[in-house]
Each structure stands twice: as C-alpha cells, then as structure tokens.
Amino acid sequence: MDTMHYFRVLVVDDEKDFLETIVKRLDKRGIGTEGALNGEKALELMREKRFDVVLLDIKMPGGMDGIETLREMKKIAPLTEVILLTGHASVESSIEGMKLGAFDYLLKPVKLEDLVTKLAQAFEKKEGQDQKIRSAKIKELMRFPGRVFQQEKEEEK
C-alpha cells in the first residue's frame, strides 16, 4: 500500500453501519474516504470536491436509484471512475451500469483486500486517462491555443 498514491474515494451506501466502518477502514489505509447515505448527498459532495473513485451501491431503497445517481455522477465528473456494489444479482442494472461507464461491479459481501485492489485498479485507469488528457491538452495548447476549452466541453458530453 505504501507504493500507492494518495487518492480520494467516495462511498455511497444506505447501510449506515457499513458506511461508517468502511470509511474508517479505508482512511486507515491511506485512502481519503468520504461517505454518503444516499444519491443526493453523494452528488452534492461530488459537486463540492473532487473524487478519484466512487463506490456506489446500486440497490438503494428510497431516493435516487443507483443507476440514476451514476448517470448524474458521470455528468458532474466524467473522469471519476465508479465501481458498482450490489447485494443483488440485478444483472440488468449492472449491465446498464457498465454501459453508462462504470468501471466494474462487485457483489456483496466483499473483502476489504479485494475492494482495495479494485479501487486501486480504477484509480490507475483514471490516472492514465488523466495523463493522456493532460498531454493531449498540452499538445493542443501548443498548436492551437484557445481551443482547449472547447475540446474539454466536447469530452464532457
């Protein structure tokens, strides 16, 4: 874990006992973690702060449906990787989630080691993406200064 870069994770789950504990445990392992009990709260947090990876429970009763939350998240932060967590074999939702750009999905109960591995993979992917975009931006900037903003906007769609 020492080799791992410091990264920020948002966990969204309506199970309070789970949420509290997972936040504490990830924090302890050097992963800056915050928790949200529902979709609205999560989106609020994402608007305020930047997260590298989101762990999203897609079967949350009441409020926003997991998939809907995912869609909104991708709008707010398209580069943030989302890992779906489900207690249910809701294949349809999982597949839809993957289509919407989720990194992967995990079936509860998940061991912390497995979870951390997945989070790290997601973070690496995101970093790679970031890297590519950054270098692309630099290239653009050098060739056509002033078009960078435009391109960024296109990507967000």
Partner: protein, 562 residues
C-alpha cells in the same frame, strides 16, 4: 414410495375398471341384437319345421285313410251288388253261392268266406274254410245293427286260424222279408295297405278303433288287438295332428283321420328327431355361425379395447410427465426468484459483518491492545467469524451464480471440447479416488451458439456430483450424440444411485445429502436453470445400487455466419 405404489395400483384399477366397462357395454350393444336374431331364427326355424312335418303327416294320414276307406267301400259295394242282384232262394243254394264267391274273389280278393243269414239270424248257407252253417246270430249285436242300418263292418278279431279278420255284412230287403249277406275279410290284405305307409326309421301307420284297440299290427310298441296308449278322444273330426312325448323324452307327432263312420282311426306316427335332422343340421349351423360371430365380436372388442386403453394410458402417462416437468420448472423458477430476493437481504448484513469484523481486526493491530492477555482469543473469534461469513457468502453466491449470468454470453461452442475440458479439470481428482472417466463423443455433434462457460458449469456439476456419489473406485461414462434437432449428453456413473423418494428433490435449491459445508445443494438447480434457459432439459434416471444417469438435451442453435 408406498404412497406412490398405492397410487399406481389405484390408477391401474381405474384403467381396468374403465376397460371392463367399455368391453361390457360394447359386448352388450353388439351381442344383444345378434343373440336376439339368432334365437328368433332358431325358434322360427323350429316352428316352421314342426308345422311342415305336421302338415306332411296329416297328408299322409289322410291319404292312408282314403285308401283304407276305399278298400272297405269296394268290398262293401261288391257285397251289396251281389245281394242286390240275387234272390234269397238263389243265394241259399250253396252251388250258386260258391259261384258268386268265386266271382267276388276274382274281382276283388281278400274274401275268406261268404254266408247267407235269414231275417231270424239263422246261417242258412256258407262257403268258406270254417264250419259256420246252422249257427244262429240273432242274439249277436252286429245282427241288430245290420238289420237296422243295412251295412255293418266289424272290428278286427282273431279268426280260427289265429289270423286277423273282420266282417262286412249287408242287408237285402226283398218284398216283405230281408236277409243278410255276410263275408269275412282277411285283414292281412288290408294290413298291407297300412304297412306301406310305415316309412323311415321312426314312421308308423296303424288303425285303432274308438276305444284305442289296434286293428292292425303297429310297427313299434304293442300288438294287434291290444289296447294302445293313444287317446282317441284327442283326435277331432277331421285330420288332426297331436304332439306327444314318449318315454325317452323324444318328441313324437301323431296325425289321425277317422274312417268307417267314425269307428276307426287311421294314425300316422312320426318321431320328430328323424324328420327334424334337416332342421337340426341347419340349426347347428346357425348356432355355429352365431357363436363364431359372438366369439369374433368378443375377441375384437377385448382386443381393440385393450389397445385403446393402453394408448390412453400411455397418453396419460406422457401428459402426466409433462405436467410434472412443467410443475417442476415452475417450482424451480419461483424458488429461484425467492432465492435471489433472499440473497440480497442476506448479502447486505453479511457485508456489514465483514466490515465490522474487519474493523475489529484493524483495531487489534494497534499497540495498546497487543498487550491484552485475551488478544489471541479475540483473533481466533474474529477468524472464525470471517470463516463463517465466507461460508454464507459461498452459499449465497452459488445461488446467484446462475442468476448473475442470466444474460448468456453467446459464442461458438464445441460441446465435445467443453466435455473434454471438464474431464481434464476433474480428471486428477477422479484419478486420486480411483475413478475412471471414459467418454464416447460423436463427431456428428455440431458447433452451436451457446454460453461456453455456462455449459462448462453444467458438465462440471454433473461430473463432480458423480465423483462425489461414487466416492472411491468406480467409473463415469460421458456420451454425446446428435439426435435430430438436439444434442444429447449422458453422464452415467456406477455409484450408489438415488433413492426414489429423493429423486424428485435433487433439482431443488439447497437439497443436498452431503455434509454441511461440503454440499450447497445448488449444483443441480443451477444446472437445470442453465439448460432450461437454453431451451433444453435435464433428466435423471437412477437405480439404487446400480448407478445414475443424467441426460442433458440441448437444442442445436446454429451460430450466425460472420
């Protein structure tokens, strides 16, 4: 099992009951008219025959009566004409009388003697073998009768030479006095006429007088001049047929005609049996035809009913099996849905337990707690919790294993290759337990579009179940072949088999006979679901002590051309 047997017995008796009903009804409907027809023909025939026979013997009796009557009339007529053409004085001259006697006999014959009797009953002249001259007949009853009526014919009597005779006497009225011409007639001649009518084996003809005494010798039973058993009063005025049964219970028909002014009865007797032989053979033929008809109907009815019933039964069994299979599928689908729901409800608490114990473990690693004297106890407890959470997780994930892969990933699959992979994967494990796995894979099995991983899971489940069932030392046979639009794969083992009462439940989720922790009871359930999703079916045949065969039928789905 006993339940099942009882039910089977009940089913069997239901079918045999139905069969009996159909057979009885069909037989009733088809045999009743045949029997009625047969009986009608039978009795009709008999009636017709009897009528014919009666008519026949009536004719015969009338014919005979006419012949006898003619004979009597002829003799009477000759006597009359002789009396009428001669005077009393001529007649008592025996030379004259002798000449007349000769003329008479040359004309008609059968006259034995001839005599003349005057009005006072004195026998004045006589020609014949007996010495009758001089006798006086005045006191004889016939004398009175002939004097009164003019003609008299006596009953038959035994003459002096022990020969049957009878007398004809006629009266001649000459002016104021009358005399009688009397002749004895040899009834042997007369008997000849009657005997000629005794035909066939049982046919008889005879004459009796009013009181039933035989006037001629009958062919059977009785002698001339003895009383017959015939009730003469039962014969009416004309020619009448009478039916009688004799001692041997045989039917005998009689027909009688009165002659000689109602003094004699000419009787024709005929045993029915002989005359009826024609009828009997016809009757026997009719009975034979009707009986063979009945036999044919019975055989056909039984045969066709049996066939119908067995077809019906087969159809019922098939329908029953299909129903059972549908019910099984429905049940499994419902159970699957429920299991998925339960899985969700269990997974969330499991996740919390995992996190909480994880947290506890994290904390145990902190400096201050390392010194606690119970630290090892805590560690073991936490490990145990984790172990059992893992166990629960396996069950739930196993249950969802199928559901999670509901959307099969289609690819080109060579089923034989998948089977071979399975054998490779499990081969080692089998070898350790001294279990031989052989395969007989038909090259006709085509490449199909299917989810290879799912099929792998199916064969893994079946083969590993077989290995588990055998335990040690045994063999497993895997066969694949193309059967029309399907591929059939058979996995057979020579393990202990599955007891009948458990056979129905093996596809149920969580049904296992293995030790806790070893079996989840999900293998066959998942197998069933996968195969059913593919449009196929899994079946099991098992005999206790012999082994078990699972058959997987998979429809051939041709892969799309790329």
């Amino acid at each position: 099992m006993i339940e099942g047997k009882r039910q089977q017995d009940m089913e069997t008796s239901r079918y045999t009951g139905l069969q009996r009903k159909i057979i009885l009804l069909t037989l009733l409907v088809s045999l009743a008219p045949l029997i009625v027809l047969g009986a009608t023909i039978y009795y009709q025939f008999a009636g017709m025959y009897r009528a014919k026979i009666t008519q026949q013997i009536t004719y015969r009796s009338r014919g005979l009566a006419q012949a006898v009557e003619l004979f009597l009339k002829e003799r009477t007529a000759i006597l009359c004409s002789m009396a009428d053409t001669h005077h009393f004085n001529e007649m008592i001259d025996e030379a004259n009388l002798s000449r007349i006697f000769e003329i008479m006999n040359s004309r008609a014959g059968a006259f034995v003697d001839l005599g003349v009797i005057d009005g006072n009953g004195r026998h004045l002249a006589y020609i014949g073998p007996y010495d009758l001259k001089g006798l006086n007949y005045y006191q004889q009853p016939w004398f009175g009768e002939v004097m009164a009526k003019g003609v008299y014919i006596s009953d038959v009597y035994m003459g002096y030479r022990r020969l049957p005779h009878f007398i004809i006497a006629v009266r001649r009225q000459e002016k104021s006095h009358s005399w009688i011409l009397r002749a004895t007639i040899d009834s042997g001649v007369f008997e000849g006429i009657v005997k000629a009518a005794q035909v066939g084996k049982t046919g008889d003809a005879f004459i009796v007088n009013k009181s039933g005494v035989y006037q001629t010798q009958p062919r059977f039973e009785g002698r001339i001049l003895t009383k017959s058993k015939l009730e003469t009063s039962s014969f009416g005025g004309g020619t009448t047929g009478v039916e009688k049964k004799n001692s041997e219970e045989k039917q005998i028909l009689f027909a009688g005609t009165w002659i000689n002014h109602g003094k004699w009865l000419v009787v024709i007797r005929q045993g029915v049996t002989e005359e009826m032989t024609g009828l009997f053979s016809t009757r026997n033929m009719e009975i034979a035809i009707v009986l063979s008809g009945i036999l044919a109907i019975i055989l056909m009815t039984v045969f066709t009913t049996r066939m119908t019933i067995s077809r019906l039964r087969a159809a019922d069994v098939k329908a029953g099996e299909m129903n059972a299979q549908l019910m099984q599928s429905d049940k499994l689908a419902a159970l699957g849905k429920m299991a998925a729901g339960i899985a969700h409800e269990i997974n969330n608490p499991l996740q919390v337990i995992v996190e909480k114990t994880g947290w506890m473990q994290d904390l145990l690693n902190e400096e201050e707690l390392q010194q606690s004297k119970n630290i090892d106890e805590f560690r073991t407890s936490i490990n145990k919790i984790e172990e059992h959470v893992e166990r629960a997780r396996k069950v739930v994930h196993g249950m969802l294993g199928f559901a999670r892969k509901m959307e099969p990933h289609m690819e080109d699959v060579d089923i034989n290759a998948v089977i071979n992979q399975t054998i490779d994967l499990l081969g080692n494990y089998a070898r350790i337990n001294n279990i031989t796995i052989t395969s007989e894979l038909s090259p006709d099995v085509p490449i199909i579009a299917a989810d290879g991983a799912q099929l792998q899971q199916v064969f893994m489940n079946l083969v590993s179940n077989a290995i588990d069932a055998i335990g040690k030392d045994g063999r497993i046979d895997i066969k694949s072949r193309r059967m029309g639009p399907q591929i059939h794969i058979e996995v057979s083992d020579n393990g202990p088999g599955i007891p009948e009462e458990k056979q129905k439940r093996i596809f149920d989720p969580f049904f296992t006979t293995k030790e806790t922790g070893k079996g989840t009871g999900l293998g066959l359930w998942v197998t069933h679901n996968i195969v059913e999703k593919m449009g196929g079916a899994v079946n099991m045949r098992s005999e206790e002590g012999k082994g078990t065969t699972f058959t997987v039928r998979i429809p051939i789905v041709i892969p799309e051309k790329k």
